[in-house]
Symmetry: C2
Subunit: 203 residues, 2 copies
């Protein structure tokens, strides 16, 4: 089956990539349609034909972010031999990915739509859900470590998971404010200093 009609004159994937970087740098409400169309090199009708709406474009941008930048941060998490190495690697990768010279600083999912009250826009709720998933992922890794005997059953899985995600999210703000890669890595190291105390058996 061959496609009918006039062929699209721009690279959809490339246009999406440019939109993602704009949203990443300036957040959802911080980017206007005219900025998007200018950066993507297309006119509004082409954007809407290809991506439906600003909302839908943002969702696709977030999905692309997760499969590229997010993967750079989380790929080592599941493969790490121990929970400690998984968390340490996550923080280290976050520090590095939040401070690249050729990319916006910080995390799109953390900084992309912090506006508004709780449960305001759909975009906001989607990002909050993704942020929650990070905590859940750490919790599950910690529970696996308990099941495998690496960590004692007495640890507070939820608190530890929330603690390390809180640091990761705070690093996004630090990165946006100009903290150097070295400083972000130092923060990650500081966070891991708590590991032994947090995971020791306390009966």
């Amino acid at each position: 089956m061959v496609e009918r009609g006039r062929p699209r004159s721009f690279d959809r994937a490339d246009a999406l990539r440019r939109a993602m970087e704009l949203f990443w740098a300036k957040s959802y409400e911080g980017v206007s349609l005219s900025e998007l169309t200018t950066s993507m090199g297309i006119n509004p009708p082409s954007l809407y034909a290809a991506f439906t709406s600003k909302d839908a474009l943002f969702r696709e941008a977030v999905a692309l972010y997760r499969s590229t930048e997010g993967d750079r941060t989380w790929s080592g998490f599941e493969t790490a031999a121990t929970a400690r190495e998984a968390v340490a690697g996550l923080l280290k990768a976050s520090a590095e990915n939040y401070s690249r010279d050729d990319k916006p600083r910080g995390c799109l999912i953390v900084l992309g739509a912090l506006h508004c009250d709780l449960s305001n826009t759909a975009v906001n709720r989607d990002l909050a859900d993704l942020r929650m998933q990070c905590v859940k992922q750490l919790q599950e890794r910690l529970e696996r470590a308990i099941a495998e005997g690496e960590l004692p059953q007495t640890i507070d899985v939820q608190a530890i998971a929330t603690f390390y995600v809180t640091i990761q999210q705070g690093m996004s703000i630090q990165a946006r404010d100009g903290a150097s890669r070295e400083m972000l890595l130092a923060v990650a190291d500081c966070a891991m200093v708590a590991w032994n105390g947090l995971t020791v058996s306390q009966n």
Copy 2:
């Protein structure tokens, strides 16, 4: 000298307080003039006569936030007997103040204007400066603790200060996402578990 002209028909301080809570809940760009005037119970010309512009109103709101909510968080910091108690108290107060039932969740200075590229708007730069001042304040307290012999000279003052501020800032996002007060307090406790390791003499 008595004031001339028609007297103002609204309470300026009360109107400012309402504006502060709106900005706190929804950030600078997230609040529109019509929302402000509605909540403050006045018309746009009255707002501009009393506060000059949305920018200036936001600055006054931030100043009010610092002298009220900010004071709730930081008042115990300088009076604490030790650096450890100062930092622990700061995190505990942050957890509590970011999760009050009658107030917006999180911190206005952290969440008030995260939009935009680095050094974009004046509002953004002002808040970034205030965020930096938090790090500086912790640094100075740690240096004082060194001078007083509480902590060894070998500690990395900047890294430790940035680490604890990073947690405080991350707690704003957690609070905005709905984390309970208990969970925020647990995060603060987790952060203090690192204290001994971070401040031990390592020569």
